[in-house]
Symmetry: D3
Subunit: 246 residues, 6 copies
């Protein structure tokens, strides 16, 4: 089957992301609060500032950025049990929140942050594939708002913000590299890759998995090309939401 015969379920072009929306100040209490939408995937990213750092960082004159991830029980097609009721966060949840935290730390100079902890709570209101990439992309905007809050309150002097960070998924759908997979594609993809990108275009994280079979170096490169292109668009969305120029 030649790639020209393949159509994405959504009708999108291979290199076309879903509609991206970043709504700031979505809730009132958090220092940064962003609703990020990648099409039908909707994640509320709240950034909370707290004085102090985890025990193992005390006295090191630096701050910390961490993340927690959750999914409302009926964010998905069928209801999944509440992790709080099961008494444990699942492996997938822990893996995703470790990824989000690691990625967003690349946006910040922790030394300049001072002894503050910023926690990003990424809670999925509605899921349609790509919740972790949306979380990173929206979480970064909330993180910037939290940093601005610290600056506005004159709690920190220098600017700890280093660079925007965004993330998008790419994959092989019926052998064809595609960008920003929604659930119907994601559940059938041969290979699924999450890419986290710095504003410079360089890479922060690459996590690619052959769900079935394997993938070649040239397929990897084709997917990374798509991710780079989408990343440039995501940074544009982030800058626009934040009211800054690229």
């Amino acid at each position: 089957m030649s790639s020209s015969d393949i159509r994405r379920p959504s009708g999108r072009a291979f290199d076309q992301t879903r509609e991206i929306q970043l709504t700031r100040d979505y809730t009132r209490h958090a220092e940064g609060s962003v609703l990020v939408e990648f099409g039908d995937t909707k994640v509320l990213c709240n950034a909370s500032v707290e004085a102090g750092v985890p025990r193992w960082l005390r006295g090191k004159h630096q701050g910390w950025v961490t993340a927690e991830y959750g999914m409302l029980p009926r964010a998905t097609h069928s209801r999944s049990g509440r992790e709080a009721a099961r008494g444990q966060q699942g492996g997938r949840t822990l893996e995703i929140q470790r990824l989000i935290g690691r990625s967003l730390r690349a946006a910040v100079d922790l030394k300049k942050l001072g002894e503050f902890t910023i926690t990003l709570d990424c809670d999925v209101i509605q899921a349609d594939g790509g919740t972790r990439t949306a979380s990173i992309t929206g979480g970064c905007v909330a993180l910037v708002d939290a940093i601005r809050h610290l600056q506005r309150k004159k709690l920190i002097k220098s600017d700890p913000f280093k660079q925007l960070v965004s993330s998008v998924s790419v994959g092989l759908y019926k052998g064809q590299p595609v960008v920003d997979l929604d659930y119907p594609e994601d559940s059938k993809a041969d290979t699924d890759m999450n890419v986290v990108i710095a504003e410079s275009g360089e890479l922060i994280e690459v996590q690619g998995t052959a769900e079935a079979g394997t993938f070649t170096r040239s397929q990897l490169n084709a997917m990374l090309d798509l991710a780079e292109k989408a990343g440039a668009e995501l940074f544009e969305h982030q800058r626009e939401a934040l009211g800054v120029r690229g």
Copy 2:
């Protein structure tokens, strides 16, 4: 201090509720999905239909309605730990979700529901007092949508819906009975009471607590008068949202 000297922090009249909004179809996947707003308190109420009943009801030819309650970590002024991360739902959470489930079962004839379970997930997006009363009021609308879904899919024949159920808080603020307390009032109230009301005006649940001191029978009656009046308004909101006449 005479009651005429007391002003509510919000400037509302003693018998005035906050602005109530009920937005149906807030998310896509749930059989009923309602965002309920009591002023700045915002709760997403998703109703999920599942075939089957809990083990202890099997073979009894009836259905079940239950609820789970959660609060996003930064729904509140300061961040509270994620219950899933702590590995346990707290006593307050369990108490609230038991109340919601009990209240909403009063809206349904479980025999006519057949062997289906409807689970109401009430997740607080933003908290400003009264999250449990908002959950019951919004949850009832989501519950009606879930029942309509079962009817539309011809999964049940007779109509299990019995009556609307709504809930509002009342309390003594500086000795004065007031309705629908927001957080600034709630945190200072002498007495706090949650009332669950049936469309008939009769009572389903009364939970009154003297946070400090005690309250008299006549104060109890004054508070219940306020709750009855507000209940009538809430039923109007519910009927309007559902497109039915009172």
Copy 3:
């Protein structure tokens, strides 16, 4: 059916409580130790005094009163699993112990208690309905003994005791208001209400639930009348046990 046709399973009059017994010094180690019996319901209420307060009260120059509730596995007709073995206290347990603690704090001036914590352990030896109301009624006597212990040991100077607190259940049994429901009534009651009363006759807590159907304001009032009358008797039992005059 007129109320004159209805008979309580126990043969008691509608406004008649079960036989109440309060046995002080039931065990040796606790600063207050009371076995409370409401008929066949038997609860051991031990009050333990510990120096210090929970972390969130430190430095506030006040004490704390809290409660824990448990049921021996075979306190009931059929054995229920041990919560320690299940690794979690159930929602009902947490709800009850929160109620007991809240109610008993109304008996004490926490400022005058000083930085001591009094923990009431209410463990049900045998259950026949009304374990939470018995716990509050017996727990209050154990609490007074614990306060006397602090005074005797000259650990506190002023007297933190404010007022006796007692509790009784009322309900609608076959439509008829009755007081102090035992298990056969409780399991069939249309409405079940737990009332916590101060020695002044005013109310501390009212928790009424329509298990089936609804209840009216006038039924509520009839039930509260019964509770007030029974409360007066319970205070008499408490005063007699403590050797004080009303």
Copy 4:
């Protein structure tokens, strides 16, 4: 120091047990319910009969006897946390309940018991040393009552009861072998041994620990002599409580 210079804190003779009491039918619901007292140590032993056996015994045409052990939080001098609240049974609790179960299975022919499970709940009301030996001794009487219940209800045909089982502690107190240690002795003993004995006088379990230092074979023999003598007395108490002849 010669043994004649040593006095037990209680003034008891070296081979003298505390006052033993076995009160049957202590609570109403359990098939066997015995309050056992070894002096100030008081344990409520409830035996519950349930149809069926644990999964791993299904289809093996035999029954099961098991035990659970708990201590009320203020059974001891200072309050210890509730295991249900900590979310886990401690190692000491698990070790004791395994011992009780194992010991009481020696009293029963599990084949003749048929597919029933008898669970002994041993809950310590007041502790003063020797709670596990009291639990075994009292639990055996409750077990016999549970077996009689099965026979009376004609649920089993043959008699699964094999022999009485009792237990007592022995130890070295200031180098001197003593029997049935109370808390003041137990907390200072050099060696502590729990012995479970069959009615025949033979041994079921011997658990001896040198808390400090070591013990010799001849000391072991002296302690076992004391245990044998006390065992004979315990069987007499059990038979008397059960109304049977030795």
Copy 5:
């Protein structure tokens, strides 16, 4: 600093792996038991065959391959708490065992495996970096032995084995791409990447993280070149251990 100035702490060449050893039949009971050593990193990989599949696969006429990962408390420089004692597997553990399971499923045709589950237990005896890559590489050999066991016992007819799978880490150490990082390198690496490779040379999983800063596409390619070369060597070790020809 030019790359010619950089030396690896171990003195190895940039493209040189540590000494690899695969010892089959390391323990007696498991159907496959391999001690894998990547230098000082030693992992015991036991493959267990069990009839049946997890609940969600029942009736789908296929088998399952899964993995669990653990680290002995003192496998590392300083002792880390035992996960069983903490009552929970950490996020890192869950992430690693999900990776191992996913990677090894690429070695097997689950349909041909039939309704058997093969569980790989990868327990780290001694850690010096690269425990997850060693686990995959050694686990694959144990998996082959488990499959051979099923064939030898004539429990399966067709051969479910598809291809060998191996894994190696690559990274940027002082900006220089290096292969098979030991702990001193790993703890200082700018970028760390784990690559899982199929015998065909194609990729199964790529997980690259910039621990500090970012990495470029050309650095990514240089690292993947190293991984491919090392993978070829690892397959040679696996084939030799298994006594098969490439």
Copy 6:
């Protein structure tokens, strides 16, 4: 059946232990690391030294020795679930690690140890009966190495080592006393006893259980004679491994 007709499954004489091996420095990181083998039972005993003592010992100018025990999931004939995955250590595990810790504390003068904690991790690599006795015997050698480490580093001045401690199982196999039971014997033994012995020949712990039936005083004595004889051999193995004279 006379004892001369009974043969042990292994063909060993009644008083013959399995082949004992103690391999020091088995892993690199631990301050003491011993692989102990009692025939096919293999346990890795790692001793870790940490500064400080548990909270309840602080300020008492003494050290602490404790133990944790684990079994690799496939150390046994069939795979058993990982305790870390189940989220709890089982009763058997807790009982064994309490025994190991208690036994090894008899080898050390805790006052002379100073404020250090030595933790023995005993992890069973392969099980064939007697894992707890092997753990104590091997753990003692690792403990001595950890003490030597403290002395070599001049962290303690006086020598806290008091005496070697070893352990062996004895039992009644078909009525015949035998020593060091392997799994085939252990699973069929009528009585099973674990004995912990001090280098002086005196007893530290005796734990005997009649798995079926009972045992007599003379059988107990015959078993203890076997344990004493085997203990002397075990001390010889320990001294040889440590390079010291008896």
